[in-house]
């Protein structure tokens, strides 16, 4: 009987207040949507790369990638190396079907395929001669795609390619029934595919299948090291299990994960805020139910069940919305890596595990949000329930400073005590955000009190009583409005934290690359084309360049792969003439002494990530595996480096030559007396046979890559703000609804429509200002943690946190704009009423 009563009451209440129900569902839906969108798009982008590689890899465990692709001459050189690397070249780029659908065109070397790749063999059907395959524009298309397009073998297919529209003959179909991802691919011979790309001499990546004829399925580490040593600089051998487009890509994915975690926090708060508000608004109904004989326990159980059902529905909708948003985000995310590598076709990967996870998150956070207020409601007497939970100005008695100090210090203490644990830092950051949310009310109270005092003392309050009503009303409504503040505060602080970390990383990266590339001309050996030629530069060239009057200094460089404590890295033999020394900034130590030690050949320099990985510092000893056995070298200094998170070791070039005499000279840096002459100097006949690059274009390209990579974070921040805006509008609308009787009283008291609308707008602005102030503080704290602590723990390098006041001011302004936008509709409704 009681349950039926409760059910009927609940249904009627929700039916009579559809807007209230809508707001509750929208709140939970948005919370889940933002988490789903962020996590799903990040996870799918990774999987898209992984699938794309695995689909073609057929057992390959490694791939070779480089920013901007792999030059065909590099591939040819590796194929002719004595080790007989069974590499498979792949070129990939998107093309469009006449209907606008995008497919991935994949070029493979069918000759290499046949020997080494079983997957390549099994997907072919159709046929055609070698002449057709290699010399004519023949393509293989997914069987289902071919059916959809009504194409038969031998038909012509028109594609929009990077070099324009091309008509290609359908030579065969791919078995996309057993391999669904093949439905998105068009296969071509490598030569044909490259002819359709913008860069006919550049491959997307190389796959390294397992060694053939070997009982050991995996390549031994020593062979992998050998392969690494044969790769040009900035070209990386990576395991396929965890494909990473590039180092900057790592940093990006790391940022995205951090954002996804913060989005989770934001989502949870949105759900929390929506549920609380919904419960508070229905207090009179609960009072009536208690008077009708419903026990507190029954009410508690029912409210939880109701929350669960509504949260389930809203989570499903949130999941769907999140999937739609993720579908839009994913191509952006995948394309952000286009500068580093051919992006795979973006495809969302959602499985039942994800659905259950996001569903549980929605229901769980709603239940969590509802548990305490429901318990409070159930415990209260009907009379207490009938009274509105309004906080008065004179109730502000809590020890604000003490509470604030405890809330800020606690997470910081966690971070500092457990500073070696990445998880602890994340935990601390999350806790900091959650606890800061609790500071919103006292801050609002404080600000409102200050506003009241200022308005009263200035005498403006007497002339414009409405101005005085704004802060006072804000205080009276704080129980309802704190959810809005949490959401806004967290959205702004997350945006600020990510911007702060990206800005800091950008500044550090820019400074590093500017310092590091302080030579004007960089020379490296050409890619050899004929067999038997020794890779490397001749010492004659160095001598020749030294006699050139334009040259101020010449610095040689060679490298050798090493494995130190399980880390795969390079030791570099480098010359450091005085002109070259500004390229390196050290963590500590007097640079004069430090360079002296290095030049002696018995001391080495190590990069900061390596120092952190090995827990070594200046003055410690590093043991290096030489041909003659292990030898210890004193560490002369630790330099800042963002080039490799595995780390690197530098030794003077003469010492390097003594220890690794067989390693050829790999590069020369040239310092000119007049840097402006770099371009004309690079055209000198003596440098003609070599690869010559100027520092300027390299720096510009690096900068461009950075911008392109981190563009996606801007899009994601915008998403967070939009979600926060929608959540705020929803909460403010619900608040306005709840305040209808009160606003009616104001009307009766003679407040005009404009005054009532102004009251709403003013309150929204005050809320946003409080939230913005707190977000400024919290955002910068989180940015400091992410830059100084999290980067160090994740990558081993220090990114100095850069404080920029304009960042906080923009966030504050953004908060005010969002609040104004959110209040517009309620204000408009009030004006129209």
């Amino acid at each position: 009987m009681t349950s039926r009563l409760l059910l009927r009451a609940s249904l009627r209440s929700l039916y009579q207040q559809p807007l209230q129900l809508c707001m509750l569902l929208a709140g939970i839906m948005l919370g889940i949507a933002v988490v789903t969108a962020m996590q799903l798009s990040t996870q799918s982008a990774r999987l898209s790369y992984q699938y794309a590689s695995q689909q073609l890899a057929s057992g390959a465990r490694y791939q070779i990638r480089s920013a901007g692709g792999i030059a065909a001459s590099v591939y040819a050189r590796l194929k002719r190396a004595p080790e007989q690397w069974p590499l498979l070249p792949v070129v990939e780029f998107p093309v469009q079907l006449p209907g606008g659908e995008q497919l991935q065109l994949t070029g493979l070397d069918f000759l290499a395929e046949q020997q080494l790749r079983t997957a390549g063999q099994r997907v072919f059907s159709g046929g055609g001669s070698w002449n057709a395959t290699l010399l004519q524009s023949a393509v293989w298309l997914g069987e289902s795609t071919a059916q959809q397009l009504g194409l038969m073998l031998g038909d012509q297919l028109t594609l929009t390619t990077p070099v324009g529209e091309r008509s290609l003959k359908l030579a065969g179909t791919l078995d996309d029934r057993t391999q669904p991802l093949l439905a998105q691919r068009i296969l071509m011979d490598m030569g044909q595919a490259l002819a359709l790309s913008n860069q006919p001499e550049v491959l997307s990546y190389l796959l390294l299948p397992p060694p053939q004829g070997s009982a050991i399925a995996r390549w031994p580490e020593v062979m992998l090291q050998k392969l690494r040593s044969q790769l040009p600089p900035d070209t990386h051998l990576q395991p396929l299990e965890n494909p990473q487009p590039a180092r900057l890509g790592d940093a990006l994915y790391f940022n995205l994960n951090a954002m996804a975690l913060l989005a989770l926090l934001l989502g949870t708060l949105i759900v929390l805020s929506a549920v609380w508000l919904s419960l508070l608004q229905r207090r009179p109904l609960f009072a009536a139910l208690r008077l009708a004989g419903v026990s507190g326990r029954q009410l508690y159980g029912f409210l939880l069940l109701e929350t669960l059902v509504l949260a389930g529905l809203a989570s499903a909708a949130g999941l769907a919305l999140g999937v739609v948003i993720a579908d839009q985000l994913l191509p952006l995310l995948v394309q952000s890596q286009a500068a580093f590598t051919a992006p795979p076709l973006a495809r969302l990967s959602l499985n039942w595990g994800d659905i259950i996870r996001f569903g549980l998150l929605g229901c769980g956070s709603a239940l969590l949000a509802a548990a305490w207020p429901c318990w409070q409601l159930a415990r209260q007497s009907p009379l207490a329930l009938q009274a509105a939970p309004v906080a008065a100005l004179n109730e502000v008695k809590r020890p604000l400073v003490l509470r604030g100090a405890v809330l800020v210090l606690m997470p910081l203490a966690i971070v500092l005590v457990m500073q070696s644990q990445l998880l602890a830092v994340y935990l601390g950051t999350g806790l900091l955000a959650l606890l800061a949310a609790l500071l919103t009310t006292p801050l609002l109270q404080g600000l409102a009190a200050v506003c009241v005092v200022l308005i009263q003392r200035s005498g403006v309050g007497a002339r414009h009583p409405l101005l005085l009503m704004v802060p006072r009303d804000c205080l009276r409504q704080q129980v309802y409005s704190k959810g809005v503040m949490w959401v806004l505060m967290l959205a702004l602080s997350v945006s600020l934290a990510v911007t702060g970390m990206t800005d800091s990383f950008h500044t550090a990266f820019q400074g590093w690359i500017g310092q590091r590339l302080n030579a004007q001309v960089y020379t490296s050996p050409p890619d050899r084309d004929a067999p038997g030629q020794k890779a490397g530069l001749s010492t004659m060239l160095v001598e020749q360049l030294l006699t050139d009057p334009q040259v101020k200094a010449v610095a040689r460089r060679a490298r050798q792969p090493l494995t130190l404590a399980g880390l795969s890295l390079f030791i570099y033999g480098v010359d450091f003439p005085p002109a070259a020394r500004t390229a390196y900034q050290f963590r500590q130590g007097d640079s004069e002494t430090l360079w002296q030690g290095f030049q002696s050949g018995s001391e080495v320099l190590i990069s900061e990530p390596l120092a952190n990985h090995l827990q070594l510092g200046r003055g410690d000893y590093l043991s290096l595996p030489l041909v003659s056995g292990e030898q210890s070298f004193k560490i002369a200094g630790v330099y800042y480096d963002y080039g490799s998170y595995q780390g690197q070791v530098l030794i003077s070039y003469p010492a390097f030559q003594r220890h690794w005499p067989e390693v050829p000279l790999g590069g020369i840096r040239l310092y000119l007396h007049n840097p402006d002459q770099a371009e004309s100097f690079a055209r000198q006949p003596v440098l003609k046979p070599y690869e010559v690059r100027l520092a300027g274009p390299i720096i510009r390209r690096s900068e461009q890559l950075f911008e392109q990579t981190f563009l996606i974070t801007d899009a994601l921040q915008l998403l967070l703000l939009v979600v926060a805006l929608v959540a705020m509008v929803s909460n403010l609308l619900a608040l306005q609804l709840h305040r209808q009787p009160e606003l009616q009283r104001y009307r009766a008291l003679g407040l005009s429509r404009a005054m009532r609308a102004g009251l709403l707008m003013g309150q929204a602005l005050l809320l946003a200002f409080s939230a913005g102030l707190l977000a400024w503080l919290l955002g910068e704290l989180m940015a400091w943690l992410l830059a100084e602590r999290v980067q160090l723990l994740a990558f081993g390098w220090t990114v100095p946190w850069q404080f920029a006041p304009e960042r906080g001011l923009i966030a504050l302004l953004l908060g005010l704009i969002v609040a104004l936008l959110a209040a517009l509709y309620p204000a408009f409704k009030e004006v129209k009423s």
Binding site: Y15, P18, L19, C22, Y51, Q54, A72, S73, A76, R77, K79, R80, A81, P82, Q84, P86, D109, F110, L111, A112, Q114, Q115, Q121, R122, F124, S125, G127, S129, W130, N131, L134, L135, D175, T178, P180, L181, G191, Q192, L194, A195, P200, P211, Q212, G213, L313, A316, A317, A320, V323, V324, D327, R347, L348, L350, N351, I355, D529, A530, P531, G532
Partner: protein, 386 residues
Amino acid sequence: MKPRQWLGLLMVLLLGLMLVWLAREPSDVQSSNTPATSLLSQLLTDRSQQPGWAQARPDYRLQFPADHLAHNRFSIEWWYLTANLTAVETGEHYGAQFTLFRRGLAPTDSSANRWQQPQLYMGHMALTDTAAGQHRSAQRFSRQGPGLAGSTAQPLAVWLENWQLQAEQPQQLFPARLQAWDRQQQFGYQLRLTPDKPMLLQGQQGYSAKHAAVGPGQPQGASHYYSYTRLAVSGTLRKGEQRIEVRGQAWYDHEWTSSTLVEGQQGWDWFALQLDDGRDLTVIRVRGEQGDHWQLSLAGPDGAPLPVSGLPHLTVTQHWRSDDGVQYPARWRLKLAQPALDIQIKPRLADQEMKQLVRYWEGAVTVSGSHRGQGYVELTGYDQTD
């Protein structure tokens, strides 16, 4: 529409959207055991002949070092090296065969894209371990592409990936180094080849007719062909992890053509015999329905060509059948009138069949009878006539 109706509609739409999306979710990357369709089998069975290929001409005089390199205007070309080797430590015999084939897909190359150059290369490598009674062979393919296979003048070299023959000096092919290693079959060699004799131009000044009626208006069937019939070899064989130092003698051929066999011809028996008296004998028998076509040459101990006259009398005295039924001749008696010669040729090992894409028998042989010696024999076209 009332707000609650809007709400209902929105929920239905979103749920529907989710269901549609879920329905199209692909399964994971799966494996399949669908049988392969060999594209490579078309490599040499593609008979489509385009006009425009250059043909061997009797008036063409070979020019070196240019003619050591690839002749892309001819459709077929091969560089061939066979060697009889002896292990320095144990005295055990090994046979080695290394061949690079080039197949042109088009007589001209109009593409600027190096991947589209119409040249395919196939490499064969074999090692006969006589003492162990073992014959290993390996095969690989590549297009010319961006330097994956081909030949260069500076330095003088011909290669297919990391299988390569490279001259030590400019302008002349030998002395040269041969490097080849096959990871799958776990064998290879690093050999230094020094010429004991000058080059021998086969046929008429390097023009080698493969049937009797070659001439204007007659079907094609000739090649340009020269040999180094005796090269001193030293170096190392690799057999698994084992490295064996060897010495011995090798034979090198380079031949290019646009039409080897004509209608009615099945294949050839090729004998490259190094006699102990210092002379080297080449006997080529092209088997045809209308009768066999013979080509013979004899190089003296100083490399100078010696006269050979009369048709040889070649008798197969024994056969060998491979495990899948292809029957090859396995022992011969060869008689020549001028120079006077009556020899028996016997394979070092019966099973030296190259079971690769192109199937043939190529093996080390010994020579006994009126003259003693060693050599290599190649037998093609037996798998088609069986």
